[in-house]
């Protein structure tokens, strides 16, 4: 007997507040030798989570699009909730429980994924697909909230650094169901645990992230780390994307829509070169939203679906790598249109 077919039925997204222009950073700009670095060259705009806005708020606002299109019951009936929050509202427990409650769900499964990073949506799809296919429910919601740009990266000292202008905040939800409408054709996730320690929250003077102290915590980057991460991302994203293409019998150049995470322009260029996908078929919002981390893939999907770039019958490929290269994932969906 064949495994049941699981589909990505819809995605909905949310960007907090008005776009923030690059001039916001120019008023703070300090001397930072990384400012000219391609990895940190500023996008024109990004959004910042509001001062009192929680990850739960963001997911609720992203889910509004699903309610608009499918009605309230679509959330009430969810069996599996999978969440990823970049900066949990509370560090001891993930956001899943609170999100389920806010959205009026009583799911049998609530899972918070922290390892997925920029590839969290892909990891969530893999898990949702597996759980639904094995009989654990009929529908799943994958929720991603990226909320570091307006918090960690907007601290007084951090926002003077080149890296601060690149991240952007946003949230997304994906509706997954037992259905043959928009089948998830395949998913590949790989963990490169040897790189897990390479992304750090550094403070000066050094302290544990939760300890009190004068230095603001920021993502620790050095020039040598940056080139290592560049080389890893250059390799890993095409690797997982091509693994999926290979298994579903699709030449990468025939991908109808490629959506990736969007850490910077260099990665975007390198990945489409590696996959032989022209720029017109590689959707990105880097200049409008900056690095959306895990929300990048669903945000770009939402736009491509919404403005008709992707049509029923098209094959969409999502691919991303996380953190400093400790995780990567790719997934392919044959789009069947918003139901």
């Amino acid at each position: 007997m064949n495994a049941p077919i699981v589909s990505l039925l819809d995605v909905a997204t949310y960007l907090p507040g008005e776009p923030i222009g690059v001039d916001y950073y120019e008023q703070f700009a300090g001397a930072d030798e990384l400012r000219e670095n391609l990895m940190f060259r500023a996008p024109k705009f990004r959004h910042h989570v509001g001062p009192d806005e929680t990850a739960i708020d963001m997911v609720e606002r992203a889910a509004a699009g699903l309610i608009d299109r499918h009605g309230h019951d679509v959330l009430a009936d969810i069996d599996v909730l999978i969440t990823h929050t970049q900066l949990p509202d509370m560090p001891f427990y993930g956001g899943g429980g609170g999100m389920a409650h806010r959205l009026g769900m009583k799911p049998n499964w609530v899972i918070d994924l922290h390892n997925g990073g920029c590839a969290a949506f892909v990891l969530g799809l893999k898990l949702a697909r597996q759980l639904l296919a094995s009989g654990e429910g009929r529908t799943a919601l994958v929720a991603v909230a990226q909320n570091a740009a307006g918090q960690v990266f907007d601290q007084e000292g951090v926002r003077r650094k080149a890296q601060a202008s690149v991240p952007g905040d946003g949230a997304a939800v994906g509706l997954v169901a037992l259905s043959d409408r928009s089948p998830i054709l395949d998913v590949e996730c790989r963990t490169y645990g040897e790189y897990a320690g390479d992304m750090t929250i550094a403070a000066d003077p050094p302290r544990k992230w939760w300890q009190p102290g004068p230095g603001e915590g920021c993502i620790g980057f050095t020039e040598t780390k940056i080139t290592k991460v560049l080389a890893r991302g250059n390799r890993q994203v095409p690797e997982v994307a091509l693994a999926v293409c290979d298994r579903i019998g699709l030449a990468s150049k025939d991908i109808d829509l490629l959506v990736t995470n969007q850490p910077n322009r260099v990665f975007l260029r390198n990945w489409r070169e590696a996959l032989e996908v022209p720029k017109e078929r590689h959707r990105d919002t880097f200049d409008e939203c900056g690095n959306l981390f895990g929300a990048g893939i669903p945000d770009n999907l939402d736009r491509a679906i919404g403005d008709g770039q992707v049509q029923a019958g098209d094959t969409m490929l999502m691919a991303a790598f996380a953190h400093a290269g400790d995780f990567a994932g790719a997934a392919a969906v044959r789009w069947g249109g918003r139901g």
Binding site: E36, N37, L38, M39, T227, N234, P238, V266, N270, E273
Partner: protein
Amino acid sequence: MSLPALEDITAHHGGADPIEGVHRIETSPREKATPIIMEMMRSVYPHDEVFGQFCTVTDYVDCPPDELYEYMSDTRSLEEWTYSLRGFTTTEQPGLWLAYDRLGSETRIYTRTVANPVARTVDYHCAWDQGRHLWMIYLMRVVDAKVVLDKPGSVVLWTNCHHPFYDHNPYPETAPPERPVWVGDFWDMFGAGHLLELKNLKAIAEYRHHNGLPVTPDWMR
């Protein structure tokens, strides 16, 4: 105290500004140089960029470097490890060998090997059809793997340059009549083709070394 580096160019150029194409830390500090480097780092590189003008292949061979060098420096080793060069015989000119390249029917190939045992460089100077102008130069070097990889054996470097004659046969009158191919027709596959031959060299040398046979066989002595 620094050495007077580029003093002559500075004097000639009339200023300390860098001349076009030179990136040194004094005038291109790391915050300027790193973006240039990162711009150059790609996921993939076009074939023509990698193999278009210069074609380099490299491999590790588990065989002592001096023995491998000795074998390669004998032109007749090409009879064994190349894909298609066969029937090496001497000519009237000392050191110039004649063979047939079976890639081209009835094609003669002339070879003169210039080797240096200290640097362990082995340069095969070759040409199709005629032995007066040997313009196909295969530059090879055997490096002691102990030094570069901290393990016994050899690293073989092999570079070929895209000589303009690959695109236009300068001596068509020396070609056999009606020959349908020219050696340069194969340039785009040299990267793969030479790697295939380098794998031959590796397999042959490693087989002999692992089985206690002389790397240079008796028939060549």
